[in-house]
Point group: C2
Chain length 237, copies 2
């Protein structure tokens, strides 16, 4: 195969639909690169703090190319959220199903429910590499922004409801509404761990760091389980 004349970039074939050596369509690798860049920027500067130009520059693609692949900035954001959501849902459901099997006809222990929902998120944030690190940050921050929490909900609510239902079975004496509230506390706690890596340092004047998340998780798990258990202890007050 003779050497072609001065290709402007390192891309080997730009014809649509043509298979590349690694078996992926041309352009798909570009899409991923753009998503990676958007993930980083949305996580660090938020939706409004990130421009399509920033994404183009970070991904080393031209501005028009970003628009070609994703259209508007809104749909780009949605695609970023969507990309890793199914994996997260699958991990959580896998742990929930395992706990259901192990519990057989009985109820699932509180710790297993908390762990089943929180651990996959913390685990990916910790061990999933830079991509997941940024993604978890993005999800945590977007959850607090009214406009974009909706996008999150589309991908995360179904699994969350499964867990809420199971919490209700484990704590049958507690009214459903309070289970929902406690679940919300749990999510808030979980998100704060990955969303605010700076707060703990700032608060403790740098003495402690939340960088060792898996270790912090060891504290968080009993903390949350005890919290859920407390729901049973107020028959009246």
């Amino acid at each position: 195969m003779s050497k072609v004349i001065a290709l402007p970039s390192n891309k080997s074939s730009n014809l649509p639909g043509v298979e590349r050596p690694n078996g992926r369509k041309a352009g798909e690798v570009t899409r991923e690169r753009i998503l990676d860049a958007a993930e980083v920027l949305f996580a660090e500067h938020g939706f409004h703090g990130t421009s399509m130009r920033d994404v183009a520059q970070e991904s080393e693609a031209r501005l028009a190319l970003v628009a070609y692949h994703f259209g508007t900035k809104d749909t780009l954001f949605e695609k970023v959220v969507e990309r890793r959501a199914a994996f997260m849902a699958h991990q959580r459901m896998q742990l929930l199903d395992a706990a259901r099997t192990q519990a057989a006809t009985g109820t699932i222990p509180l710790e297993d429910l908390v762990k089943g929902y929180v651990y996959p998120f913390v685990e990916r944030s910790t061990r999933g590499g830079r991509g997941w690190k940024h993604y978890s940050l993005l999800v945590a921050r977007a959850s607090n922004a009214p406009d974009y929490a909706k996008v999150i909900g589309v991908h995360y609510n179904a699994v969350a409801r499964q867990f809420v239902a199971e919490f209700c079975r484990t704590l049958p004496s507690v009214e459903e509404e309070r289970i929902y509230h406690a679940f919300s506390f749990m999510v808030g706690t979980m998100l704060s761990l990955v969303a605010e890596p700076g707060r703990l340092e700032s608060l403790s004047s740098g003495a402690y760091r939340s960088s060792d998340m898996e270790r912090v998780f060891e504290t968080m798990l009993p903390f949350l389980s005890a919290g859920f258990l407390s729901l049973c202890n107020n028959e009246e007050n």
Copy 2:
């Protein structure tokens, strides 16, 4: 006093330093109006999602006037955060001091510490009127944005450290680092209550609302106290 000719607005005197009927300097009322508008907008759309023009329009002031009073957008944001921070700090310290007095030489009960930090925030968010409502939302969301968490820290860390120190005295068997982590969980839980009024509705398909925050607080208080208490129960695992 003769009627002056066609004043362009309802402002009686615009001379700097001149006292107005209510005893406030001219312009001060304008400053407050601008701060109110910025508070609403920053809370709902975030820093980058809010333009100086939006603030001008919402406050019914001209764009240049906003700049005259606050300079850059950054300093406007800081002034918004600053305005109500001292009150919040005072409320918390008042509860902490009362608890210290009541405890005399003993240690402060866990519930009082949790309540002392969380309640003032929830109370203002609930009963403080629209201004505080937006302010608490703003603080909750800004706490998760790396750039602006710093501004929050300046005004909130001092009091937070006082509470952490007191938690350490109440739970002397727990290492300081874990107290810091648990305190961070508590803050995350507290903020999630005011920051995500939509999540609970979305999750429960509209069946439950977090609008009655004081009632949710009744669930949150024992939840968090039990969480803190759990820190003692793992001499090993």
